[in-house]
């Protein structure tokens, strides 16, 4: 393997890691501000101008806080669980093209760590492994609220993996590839996925979006760490940076899902020009904003309602969608 490729990959990995760790922090600032404005509050105002350094203050707090391992927990599993959440979120990012390729100092950079031919399958698979963070953390915590949250986490993740997988089957059948770059190129030729195939793409888009909320555990489906019923769920017994890793994992996942949805359904970065790159970032920002928006507007659903929605509504629709896609393609 040539040295230039190795160096490039290492640099890309470090950049993705640093940028999205920082974005996860800044994302919390935006979340607090947006929620505050929607609820007629001001949000953080005191640390730095308009509270912009609040994220730094929180980071210092998390890093310097005592790392408590409670006495009855299964210590090795308890310690490794947050790492799984954060790590899987970042590992999944390896197959996401964050920007179109560009040339800098005569060297062509592909802003994707590895364009593997099973890209979307890989992303969903690794994000699915992220289930083990809440599950193991909750089960090892020796806390009944954590255990409840672990059980809910397992149920939600497994159920909504089904919806995610089935909903993107129809687009995959159309594109004929699992690479996100191929998805982008297909949409460049045939128009955005949501307008393709007499609405099949649109239904798939809606299903994938709904499932994305369950995968990231955001508000309408926030029951894994539902503060008002089960304290902080799997995070109850965690403190300091271990809790912070759960947090970074959750926000990184939100960012990555916000990248994947436009890449799959909304044309991605288009022709790869500067404008296309900005368009991708704009679409990503909208989906990230929508995560915050729903948190301000919508109530949570009960676990049984969530299961009902998954198995009795979304999954049949997804299966029908694939069937219609198959008929149309023939």
């Amino acid at each position: 393997m040539e040295v230039a490729y190795l160096i490039e990959t290492v640099i890309k990995v470090v950049v993705v890691l640093l940028v999205f760790s920082a974005l996860a922090g800044i994302g919390t600032y935006f979340e607090r501000k947006v929620l505050a404005f929607m609820q007629r509050r001001l949000g953080p105002m005191n640390v730095g101008p308009y509270g912009m350094l609040q994220f730094g203050a929180d980071a210092i707090k998390l890093f310097t806080k005592e790392d408590i391992i409670p006495s009855n927990v299964v210590a090795p599993i308890f310690k490794i669980a947050p790492v799984i959440t954060a790590a899987t979120a970042f590992i999944a990012a390896a197959a996401i093209p964050f920007l179109p390729e560009f040339t800098i100092f005569g060297y062509t950079v592909h802003p994707i760590v590895s364009d593997i031919n099973i890209g979307i399958l890989y992303i969903l698979g690794v994000m699915g492994v992220g289930l083990y963070g809440p599950l193991l953390g909750g089960m090892a915590s020796a806390n009944k609220f954590s255990l409840l949250s672990a059980a809910r986490g397992a149920a939600v993740f497994i159920s909504y993996e089904v919806v995610t997988g089935l909903s993107i089957l129809a687009p995959i059948m159309m594109v004929g590839s699992l690479s996100l770059i191929d998805f982008n190129d297909y949409q460049l030729e045939n128009g955005w996925m949501i307008f393709n195939m007499y609405g099949v793409g649109f239904v798939a888009f809606i299903l994938f979006w709904i499932a994305g909320f369950a995968e990231t555990g955001r508000t309408p489906f926030h029951l894994i760490a539902n503060d008002h019923e089960i304290i902080d769920g799997f995070g109850t017994e965690y403190s300091g940076m271990r809790w912070g890793l759960f947090f970074i994992g959750e926000y990184a996942n939100m960012f990555f899902i916000s990248f994947v949805i436009p890449l799959l359904f909304l044309g991605g970065y288009g022709d790869g020009s500067f404008l296309g790159a900005m368009a991708l970032l704009g679409k990503m920002s909208f989906f990230f904003f929508f995560f915050l928006w729903t948190r301000a507007a919508w109530p949570d659903v009960r676990p049984d309602q969530l299961m009902w929605l998954c198995w009795k509504v979304l999954m049949p629709i997804a299966v029908l969608n694939i069937l219609i896609a198959a008929i149309v393609m023939i």
Partner: protein
């Protein structure tokens, strides 16, 4: 500040019973309800409401230590001891009624005869750790001397926190400037008292 909206307790004209439909029992009715709820765009109404509030930017936060809510003139916070407008001397005549009426026994008053053979307050303290801010002392005071003020930030590092006579007394420079504020709460003179007061019949 206009308190009318808060003070109007008569809600009879705006009360109505919420119209709640019966829960469906038949599967077909349940299915119809699901469809109705799915395609009625209630979720988007919620989204619209919050985004509207975001762009209106009608923020109701009061950044507390810098900004404070106006408090009513009848608010019962830390006590004040008033002076006479005419002579700037203390209003308190040392009658001891406030000590007597205080239900939490937090007021201690001691008096002596001064060089002009007049009664004078020698010791006066209020234990704010015990005081429940009921306002009886201000109500009972015949001279409108002890009243409540508007200082409500009375955090302390100890449970007993004594307020002494000199600290409560209106400073003399405030009297010269004419900025002593009369208390409008319990025990204060009602407005237009001069027109309503009548002579005692026995004076004729």
């Amino acid at each position: 500040m206009n308190n009318e909206a808060f003070n109007n307790r008569d809600v009879s004209d705006s009360y109505f019973l919420v119209d709640i439909e019966d829960y469906p029992t038949e599967p077909w009715d349940k299915f119809k309800r699901v469809i109705k709820r799915t395609f009625r765009i209630e979720l988007f109404v919620g989204l619209w409401v919050v985004i509207r509030e975001m762009f209106k930017f009608d923020i109701h936060t009061i950044s507390y230590p810098e900004e404070k809510m106006p408090i009513g003139p009848r608010y019962r916070a830390i006590h004040e001891m008033k002076r006479l407008w005419e002579s700037d001397t203390e209003r308190c005549i040392g009658c001891g009624l406030c000590e007597k009426i205080c239900i939490s026994n937090c007021i201690k008053i001691d008096t002596r005869i001064d060089e002009n053979s007049r009664k004078e307050v020698s010791e006066y303290s209020i234990n704010l750790g015990r005081c429940i801010f009921c306002g009886y002392c201000a109500e009972v005071c015949p001279e409108l001397a002890i009243t409540h003020g508007g200082r409500y930030e009375n955090a302390s590092d100890q449970r007993e926190h004594f307020l002494m006579y000199e600290d409560m007394l209106t400073p003399l420079d405030k009297m010269t400037a004419g900025t002593q504020v009369e208390f409008e709460g319990f025990g204060a003179i009602t407005p237009h008292e001069d027109e309503r007061v009548k002579k005692t019949p026995l004076a004729y």
